[in-house]
């Protein structure tokens, strides 16, 4: 049994990840609500406090990353930076700071999203930062210390979120949270490293 910090535990993606973590000791975290620890991944001090408070852990699973959506010609610098500082730098900082605290042989599992592979309107900032995270994971896996592994789950839209996102994603087929949970499970409980685990239908 591994001690896993699950960030964004109350969200739909967090709940999907949770279905794959049934054999682990899960410590929940998120921006608000009924979680074990409150954390804001855009705030370095908040990230550090999370890790210091938890103390010993074997894995970090992140399922959050806020993105702004707009046509490229209308997206402002502020919208770009909100996305970059959450989905991209927020996740990079989770790893950068987290590698100081995580157990030997631990693992990080980040989240990207299918829109860098299958672009749709309004999602250029989401796609660009997903591309950055996929690249980051592939490259940084080669230099993680103490046998720490890192992977990223790149899922298509969840069946559980299809009522919200389906209208803007014509031609997409949602996948179940249970299937996406398998990807998180394979990252946390396997030996794969530097993989972009695409979950698509």
């Amino acid at each position: 049994m591994k001690t896993v910090i699950l960030i964004g535990a109350l969200g739909k993606m967090g709940q999907a990840a949770l279905t794959g973590l049934g054999n682990q000791r899960v410590i929940t975290a998120g921006r608000s609500g009924e979680v074990d620890h409150i954390v804001d991944i855009t705030n370095e001090q908040s990230i550090r406090e999370l890790y210091e408070t938890v103390g010993n852990f074997d894995a970090v699973v992140n399922t959050v990353g806020f993105c702004e959506y707009a046509n490229f010609t209308e997206m402002t610098e502020a919208q770009w930076m909100t996305t970059v500082m959450s989905k991209m730098m927020g996740q990079i900082n989770l790893v950068r700071i987290g590698q100081e605290y995580i157990a030997d042989g631990g693992s990080f599992t980040l989240i990207s999203g299918i829109l860098n592979v299958k672009p749709i309107p309004f999602a250029i900032a989401d796609a660009t930062t997903s591309g950055a995270i996929d690249t980051f994971v592939k490259c940084v896996s080669l230099e993680m210390p103490r046998n720490i592994r890192i992977n990223v789950v790149n899922p298509t839209v969840l069946s559980e979120a299809w009522d919200v996102y389906g209208e803007m994603m014509p031609g997409f087929e949602p996948v179940s949270g249970r299937l996406v949970g398998k990807a998180f499970e394979r990252s946390v409980d396997g030996f794969i490293n530097g993989e972009v685990i695409v979950v698509d239908a």
Copy 2:
């Protein structure tokens, strides 16, 4: 003959690009030195002033993007952000602001770099932002207005820069600036769109 703004014209990559722009009217730009216009791509106002001063142009070729180099475990948030704000957001802003000014059917050509495809130590921020730019170009090409095209040249190290970078790139084979210039030429003078033009040996 097209009017092309070449950013970073005095650098080695700019000189490489220039070899492919012999049939065009080239307006040079850069942070300093003997160029037609001074521009700092990390400053939105500076970018806007460049475009307003030049007035009419058919193409923007960017060859600059500053990166910090360090082991991942030692790279600071400040080093990450310097890289993100230049190589990634600087280039995105060149396109975001430039699409307001560029001629119908114009083109943008950005620069990434082979290290997201062939990782080496110390280059995680370079690789991550190159991955972001490659993804950005592929996705944003689908929504550029007024038949504006966009591509990115992703070159390996230049023969002309091998004396500086060769030592940190064992097993790499440099390519000539003339060959890289062909990639820029193909982007500016062709009809390709949304392409990552890899130039590698």
